[in-house]
Symmetry: C2
Subunit: 215 residues, 2 copies
Amino acid sequence: MRSRADDQTTKARIRDAAILRFAQDGLEATVRSIAADAGVSAGLIMHHFGSRAGLRQACDDHVQAVIRDSKSELMAPTGAPSAMLAHLAQLEGYAPLVGYVLRCLQAGGVLTAHLVEGMVADAVEYLDQGVASGTLSPSRDEAARARLLTDFALGSLLLNLPAGKDPLDLDALPGWFAAYSERILLPTLELFTEPLLTDSSLLDAYLDSAERTTP
Amino acid sequence: MRSRADDQTTKARIRDAAILRFAQDGLEATVRSIAADAGVSAGLIMHHFGSRAGLRQACDDHVQAVIRDSKSELMAPTGAPSAMLAHLAQLEGYAPLVGYVLRCLQAGGVLTAHLVEGMVADAVEYLDQGVASGTLSPSRDEAARARLLTDFALGSLLLNLPAGKDPLDLDALPGWFAAYSERILLPTLELFTEPLLTDSSLLDAYLDSAERTTP
DNA sequence: CCGCGGCTTGAACACCCGTTTAGTCTTTTG
DNA sequence: CAAAAGACTAAACGGGTGTTCAAGCCGCGG
């Protein structure tokens, strides 16, 4: 039962089952529950990954690898960091991966920092393109703006994520993404088209004070 | 050792110790650790609160009560929902409470929904004031805009929160709030003063399509 | 054919959790 | 002042956790 033409190696099967369970139940999912899903014993997980932490690490590595590989073909059509997640979630079979990422973002940690950093980098690129093509206005600090917009998008996504604890319904995820996008579309478009502040006195005041301190 | 002029009732002392521990260690903090902090036995917590869930409920209730009571005097100077949390964190002794709220927002749940709802309601009020006084531009959907801005503010706050898991340093919280505010000030001001999108074609297109579907 | 080395298992271990219980001490009350 | 009531503790219970361990199963090379 080792050389399986049907699917993949046992170790990979365990890893995938873990990602699915972590996405559904949260990152505190049990080793035993994962073992049951993968149809193996709990001890085997220890044999292959050394410890629970090792399994988590393997999941993190795999997710990052998949994202890295998918990025090039996913970059083209999308425009925002969260849009990439949303788009990815539509793809069949990718929902568990997206769920895992969401749970990681929710919990914080090393992978979170890496992911956010990558998305900020992507955002910088997109914004630059927009500025170059004339659809977006330039910023005094492109990096800071990219980070702010990324934080806004991801943060509000997390805050609105259904089920803080209890099982996340991965089948319903694509639909939820769509509904969420539609819900925020009008206010977002409005906010980005018509200035919230009617005059620039606040901005001017800040720029003045900043200039005084660092002339 | 029952009637204590020195401080407060034992039950309240346990509750405060619990809020502190929950803020520091996260909402999965142990009953035993809380009991140790409060200088009582674990059994006494059961005696007073029935169960761990009862203790959590008591913490939630107390936090909501404090926020409700503090709101009237805190509303005046502040302008944004997250600013209220930041301002509150500066006040001596309120850091544990703010930390508890942050952990609740992070974990989701009933209290979270109530808190966010309250902040959205406040935001509506503030924005209306701004519109009335002419400093803010009106929106096609004031409620949706208020929710979006609240989600943006709270979400990016959570995403940038130090230490997703491990102990949250409550003493460092005020300083962290200040640093965070300063860091996002310029891009936020810029975003709210100068439109990100250079023309209204996207907004117009959306308004057109929306009008066609619901004439 | 045997034996070796991998994958795999199931039971056991040690720990930590929330909760229960029985009992002691203190305060209040009739 | 005695008795009832409540505050409080220490120890134990039962269940769940990650991890370890000794023993099986299996295919493969000598």
